[in-house]
């Protein structure tokens, strides 16, 4: 059973992961599909894969029920493990790379309730920060906020390192969506978003399209998909809007790159794409066949 499939930054390679413990990479340019790597190293079903930004090379992270997170790297056409993280006590359910502006940082959410943040510090070294008890019973999904410098859309004076506020959202078995914020190098719970009545299966922070509004989509075991929006820069007041109630579990939500379409996949085996421009949530359409 395939559990995740993600395209790289350019949309030319597809990584899939599966119950058979494998991670596979395909070249899918121009409609082709050539298997270019079959990565073995996990000892359990692999739940998710995530591509890093190409400025870090060809880097793929995968997480598995075997409690491990593996960072793979392509060198000379060969994919190899470059880092393995075994700091979780239970299944690692979600991995997500931070916006490339922050450096190479991976957030990992686990069924042990913790979220780990793995930062590459150079020379093959990784620094680990762990938020224990982020979600009781387990964290199912993590998703980073886009890199936006607070207060202004104007570019920082050159040479000066922009003062990013790092945030990410997580969803878990405590039915909560939480927003985490880094303050003085420490991760703190900034917001607790309550609306779901069962496990939050996925969260997706919408890509920034230059508007001051932040938007998060969350979906749940309870069949509900919520859109959370926050208009103020401080990030304090989030308001939920029920996008739709499905009859079965909703497993995945994914924003399009331009953040105007939300794709939702549920246990009733339907994929629904929802178009919105932050104002209308009504349109449902089936993706075109290609």
């Amino acid at each position: 059973m395939i559990h995740d499939a993600q395209m790289d930054y350019y949309g030319t390679r597809l990584a899939t992961c599966s119950s058979d413990r494998s991670v596979k990479i395909f070249d899918v340019r121009n409609g082709g599909q050539i298997l270019i790597a079959d990565l073995r190293g996990h000892e359990g079903p692999v739940w998710q894969v995530a591509w890093a930004h190409p400025m870090y090379g060809n880097i793929l992270a995968s997480c598995s029920y075997d409690r491990k997170v593996i960072v793979w790297k392509e060198e000379n056409g060969t994919w190899e493990k470059t880092y393995e993280y075994t700091g979780h006590d239970s299944s690692v359910n979600s991995v997500c790379w931070a916006p490339h502006d922050y450096g190479l940082i991976l957030a990992c959410g686990s069924s042990d309730g913790a979220i780990s943040l793995l930062s590459y510090t150079g020379d093959g070294q990784w620094e680990v920060k762990k938020i224990s008890n982020a979600h009781t019973i387990g964290c199912n999904a993590v998703s980073w906020a886009p890199a936006v410098v607070p207060g202004s859309l104007i570019e920082q004076p050159s040479g000066q390192k922009p003062n990013y506020i790092k945030r990410f959202a997580s969803g878990g078995c405590d039915n909560l969506v939480k927003i985490w914020k880094e303050e003085d190098g420490q991760w703190k719970e900034e917001q607790k978003l309550e609306a779901h009545s069962d496990w939050v299966r996925d969260v997706a922070w919408a890509p920034s399209i230059g508007l001051p509004t932040s938007t998060i989509a969350s979906c749940s075991q309870d069949g509900r998909v919520f859109i959370w929006t926050c208009d103020d820069a401080s990030g304090n007041s989030w308001s939920p809007k029920l996008l739709h109630k499905f009859n079965d579990v909703v497993w995945h939500v994914s924003w399009s790159i331009t953040a105007n379409i939300l794709a939702v996949s549920g246990g009733d085996n339907k994929v629904t794409a929802t178009s919105d421009h932050y104002t209308r949530f009504a349109m449902f359409l089936e993706p075109d066949e290609n």
């Binding site: 880097i59 009781t136 069962d198």
Partner: protein
């Protein structure tokens, strides 16, 4: 991992799965007493809130009960009403069955007990709700007594049939999970009876003949109707038996793991492969009943757990009630067992209240709990991933509007239901059909160049007058004599005006007073300089007035010499004192006379007089006159009433010089814009269109128009592109690179196009010349996203600072040779040629884009790690520059930023590479004079693991000021040509290490499998570069050579891909030899042979340019 705990000796029941929030009901357990010997009974309801990380449960309702409980269950009965949370049924001593309304307990309302019966004769230990009909309840007590209750009529029970013989206790009753009329009961004797309620009789008895089974628990399979498990409480047979009623003679299998009798079992409804059991060995195990293996174990506890239950709603969670008086809630997903035992031990002690219960006069010491486990015990999660965390379906978006879906029962768009468990679908999502349509129209217009028709169409379909106007302006910009046409658009046509003047003159204006007073006709106008058409008439026709005026004054000449003004003027004139005469006239306000005199008095005087005149005359028209006469266009622009911006613009169109025109238009636009009024801002847009200032147009537009929706953005981009094109036509060159605001919109637009799958179109809109980071980033992404479709184009520079990840490895050449088999090379082949391209390009871009933060501290990169392709080895010796992580590159020119450092000469110590190296699998080198090429791993080397031997390029210790013949080809071909338009401002004249003819080609070569001829051929392509080296000044050939560079890339591409046939390779090899020998004639001959003997498509990309190069070289004799 323990999640919650509560100190109760109690029977427990979870709220049903559909209930939110999750509750746990507890009822004081019968047959267990604590130290208080109290016989009170309480029913309590706790909320199990996992949002709260503490171990406590929140009590939500409590109720004193008449009986203690043997069994407690919670059902959905009555859940139709919104406020209901179902009912709890308690089985007590003496055959009492009590039904409670959960809602009433939670709301502390009166009469929470909604039903009670004492039909049973003994303690009721067995209860179960029918999973299909929430009003049906089965209960079992002593003497084989089983009742079926309809909760709607709680007084009269039914029986499933005649009592089984011999009479014995009922320990469990359970409804089948699939077939609603099937019920089973289990007895301590080890027997289980299955009842069919339709037949009202037992249909099968299940019993193993060992007689050692002592049934404590029973459960139906959640999915397979014919399977059930029985657990045995007997210490001699501490097993769980799995029975299949289709083969009911003996158990299907037996789960053996407990060492003492099993007390309870619970089958997970969310995953039938998980079965919980608790036993007298103090352990709680979770089994995979299919495999018969233990997949989870909760470490040994101090006390038996007499009841385990999965939480129906939260599948990872179960509760366990123990004889030591605790109910604990655990997760099977592993984690820390934390410091739980300590708190319990404390509470056990304190339950004695530290008093002196036995009257010994000594206070009891705190209770020691010898079994206490380590404070933090890691419990591994379920060995087998539970069903509920396996994501069966998924969806994700990718660049270019691609939607990836998997796990669907049908492919998107397909009607047929079919399972594709192992397939991933990639579909293209297009949502903005109208946007795409309009975008296509625009693109076609831009490509065909037929923009006039496009504008005309826009004018006709424009809905708003402003829009129409705007398109009119844009259209006029594209036409010849745009200025006069613009004037016409503003309402001023030369022909019309001529007509008006003619009619005006024939109506006797000359009779009126001279010019200064003419403005009296405009008395109704506002105060400020407000130019209207009649003013313009006056302005333009002023000279005509004078023409007409002069003849009228002719009469007999009479020269007054009196002392009055006339006389003085005459006298001054007689003496030729024009200055005084003019002054006198001015004083007498005889302005016409003054001007006429001033004309005679020379240019200076005229100018002075004009100035005086305008200073004195403060009429409405005079300001206009003054501005026009004195050519102070800026004054007009800065002071005119904004309502008459059209007139101001007309003046600019008529008078201002081309070089001032745009600036003045912009100023006017800026004034209009600064008013903040939407209407004026629209007018400002017209000004910017007139001036052709795209950036300002966009800035102004976005202030007043929403551009976030696709169509609104399309509106803007249409205008921008048309205006841009008109400027290109006007200036003959591409317009200036877009500023930040426009760049943002263009990027937005291109992103939108890309998101609809139009990658190539999106690319077209992004100007190559732009240095805007956003545009560069999107160009890079679009380029690579298109895969091979843009193979002949030069990849744009990589707009990010590269960061190398991972430990830099040092691999020996031999190892490398072994570990980079041909298979690997060919497998990744298709992507490879392009991959290094963009890898390489970031290096120079880093310094030029300081806004990209480099978050990684520079780390020393050992020289060994340097790529084999180019001149980077000295990087090792240049501290600051190592912040940029260079990666392998086939295009060394991009790394020119590093070149100055490369000349340090230190790196020579690293170089021993170019002797024939063992890694080179190619046959004998065809050119003994040349060193063999670096190893076959080269083309794949990104960074980190090059073979140390041949990796390092040998820079000669003496930098040569002359460009060497053999320096890397693309470098050589670019540098002498200056190539200032290239995005890399590299110090071209720094020179390259003189490699001599033996210098290695730094081009990446195909892997080991490439045959020798192309190798040699590539080697000597360094010679054409030498040719170009000598051509610096030849401007004419320069262009050709720039082109050549691009075409040669095509050749290199093919060589890397090994896409060329042996015949062509041989030919290239031959040509190379000729070039090396400077025998271009021969080279051309060979060239012709190759071309004539090969398929056109194979060689068309590069052969023509080789010919051009050789021809040039031959002519110049280099």
């Amino acid at each position: 991992m323990k999640l919650k705990e509560i100190e109760r000796t109690a029977a427990q029941a979870w709220s049903p799965a559909n209930n939110h929030p999750i509750y746990l009901a507890t009822g004081t357990s019968a047959q267990q007493l604590d130290a208080s010997f109290s016989t009170n009974a309480t029913l309590e309801i706790f909320e199990v809130d996992f949002r709260d990380p503490s171990l406590d449960l929140k009590q939500k309702g409590t109720l004193p009960a008449s009986n203690r409980f043997h069994k407690l269950i919670w059902g959905n009965f009555g859940n139709g009403s919104p406020e209901s949370s179902g009912v709890i049924i308690g089985g007590g001593d003496n055959g009492v069955l009590t039904m409670y309304s959960v809602h009433r307990i939670l709301a502390s309302k009166s009469e929470p007990v909604i039903g009670q019966t004492e039909k049973h004769s003994g303690p009721v230990r067995a209860l179960d709700f029918n999973p299909f009909q929430s009003n049906l309840l089965a209960s079992g007590a002593n003497d084989s007594e089983i009742f079926i209750w309809d909760l709607n009529n709680f007084s009269v029970p039914m029986t499933p049939g005649a009592k089984s013989q011999p009479h014995e206790d009922i320990s469990v009753v359970s409804w089948n999970r699939q077939v609603q009329h099937i019920l089973s009961s289990a007895h301590p004797s080890g027997k289980a009876v299955v009842w069919d309620l339709r037949k009202n009789e037992p249909i099968i008895k299940v019993s193993d003949h060992s007689n050692r089974m002592h049934c404590s628990g029973m459960a139906w399979h959640p999915e397979v109707a014919t399977q059930l498990v029985l657990s045995s409480e007997d210490d001699r047979l501490p097993v769980i038996q799995i029975w299949d009623l289709r083969f009911a003679t003996s158990p299907l299998s037996q789960l053996e793991g407990h060492t003492r009798g099993v007390l309870s079992v619970s089958w997970c409804q969310a995953d039938p492969e998980l079965l919980l059991s608790s036993a007298k060995d103090n352990r709680i195990l979770c089994w995979n009943p299919n495999m018969g293996e233990v997949v989870y174990e909760l470490p040994i506890r101090s006390q038996w757990c007499f009841d385990v239950q999965w939480c129906p709603r939260n599948p990872s969670v179960f509760s366990a009630a123990t004889f030591d008086g605790w109910i604990n809630i655990y997760s099977v997903m592993g984690g820390n067992l934390e410091a739980q035992q300590k708190t319990q031990a404390d509470k056990i002690s304190s339950s004695f209240n530290n008093l002196d219960p036995f009257g010994t006069g000594q206070i009891l010491p705190p209770l020691q709990v010898p079994e206490q486990v380590a404070q933090t015990t890691l419990i591994p999660p379920l060995k087998k991933p539970p069903k509920w965390i396996r994501r069966p379906v998924g969806v994700s978006f990718a660049f270019g509007g691609k939607l990836i879906t998997f796990g669907l029962t049908k492919a998107p768009g397909q009607q047929m239901q079919q399972t594709y468990p192992h397939q991933v679908f990639i579909s293209q999502v297009t949502t903005e059909t109208e946007f795409l349509l309009r975008s296509r129209e625009l693109q076609m217009a831009l490509q065909s160049g037929n923009l006039l028709d496009y504008c005309q169409g826009k004018i006709q379909t424009a809905k708003l007058p402003f829009d129409e106007n705007l398109w009119n302006f844009l259209k006029v910009n594209l036409e010849q004599e745009s200025r006069s046409k613009l004037l016409k658009l503003l309402g001023y046509s030369k022909e019309d005006l001529q007509k008006k003047i003619t009619s005006c003159l024939s109506n006797g204006i000359p009779d009126k007073q001279p010019l200064p007073e003419a403005n009296e006709t405009n008395a109704a106008q506002p105060d400020q300089l407000l130019i209207n058409s009649s003013d313009a008439v006056a302005a333009v026709s002023s000279s005509a007035f004078f023409d007409n005026l002069i003849p009228q004054n002719i009469s007999t000449l009479e020269i007054p010499v009196t002392e009055d003004t006339d006389g003085l003027i005459s006298q001054a004139l007689l003496l030729g004192n024009f200055e005084s005469a003019v002054e006198l006239c001015m004083q007498a306000e005889r302005f016409a006379d003054a001007i006429i005199l001033a004309i005679a008095g020379g240019e200076n005087l005229l100018r002075e007089t004009q100035k005086h005149y305008f200073a004195k005359q403060k009429t409405k028209l005079s300001v206009l006159l003054s501005s026009i006469v004195q050519q102070k266009w800026q004054d007009i622009v800065c002071t005119c009433n904004l309502q008459s911006w059209k007139e101001a613009l007309a003046i600019l169109l008529t008078y201002s010089k081309h070089e001032d025109y745009t600036q003045l238009c912009d100023m006017l636009g800026a004034r209009l814009e600064s008013e903040g009024d939407a209407g004026l801002s629209n007018d400002a847009c017209l000004c910017y269109i007139s001036s052709g200032n795209v950036e300002r147009l966009v800035e102004c537009w976005v202030k007043n128009h929403e551009t976030s929706s696709p169509l609104a953005l399309q509106d803007l981009i249409e205008k921008v592109m048309v205006l841009n094109r008109s400027i290109e036509m006007l200036q003959g060159t591409a317009g200036p690179a877009p500023g930040p605001v426009l760049a943002e919109r263009i990027t937005q637009y291109a992103s939108l196009l890309a998101s609809q799958g139009c990658l190539a179109a999106a690319m077209d809109y992004l100007p190559r010349s732009s240095k805007e980071l956003l545009i560069e980033q999107l160009r890079d992404r679009l380029f690579h996203a298109q895969g091979a479709n843009v193979g002949d184009q030069q990849p744009p520079p990589f707009p990010y600072t590269r960061v190398n990840v991972g430990v830099i490895k040092h691999t020996s050449p031999a190892a490398k040779g072994g570990s980079a088999p041909e298979g690997a090379a060919s497998k990744t082949g298709p992507r490879h040629p392009e991959k290094p391209n963009y890898q390489s390009s970031f290096a120079p871009s880093a310094p030029s884009q300081p806004s990209v933060p480099s978050l990684f501290t520079p780390q020393p990169v050992p020289a060994m790690s340097m790529t084999p392709h180019h001149v980077t080895p000295p990087q090792a010796s240049t501290g600051p520059q190592t912040g940029v992580y260079s990666r392998g590159s086939p295009y060394p020119q991009y790394n020119l930023g590093l070149v100055p450092a490369a000349i340090s000469g230190q790196a020579v110590s690293q170089s021993q590479p170019f002797g024939p190296s063992g890694v080179r699998p190619v046959g004998p080198a065809p050119f003994p004079s040349q060193p063999s090429l670096p190893g076959q791993s080269m083309p794949m080397t990104s960074s980190g693991v090059p073979p140390p031997g041949p990796t390092v390029f040998t820079p000669a210790s003496v930098p040569s000021s002359q460009l060497p013949a053999a320096c890397p080809l693309p470098v050589a071909s670019q540098s002498p040509l200056g190539f200032s338009s290239a995005p890399f401002n590299c110090p071209m004249n720094m020179g390259y290490p003189q490699g001599g003819p033996g210098a290695p080609s730094t081009k990446p070569l195909p892997a080991a499998s490439i045959p020798p001829p192309p190798t040699a051929a590539q080697e000597s392509w360094t010679d054409p570069s030498a040719i170009r080296g000598g051509l610096q000044k030849k401007k004419k050939t320069r262009r050709k050579l720039e082109d050549a560079l691009q075409r040669l890339e095509c050749l290199y591409e093919k060589l890397r891909e090994q896409a060329l046939s042996p015949a062509i390779l041989m030919g290239l090899h031959e040509i190379a030899r000729c070039v090396e020998a400077r025998n271009y004639q021969q080279g051309l001959l060979v060239h012709t042979q190759v071309v004539s003997s090969s398929s056109f498509s194979e060689v068309s990309g590069f052969m023509p340019i080789l010919k051009v190069l050789m021809t040039i070289a031959g002519k110049l004799n280099v």
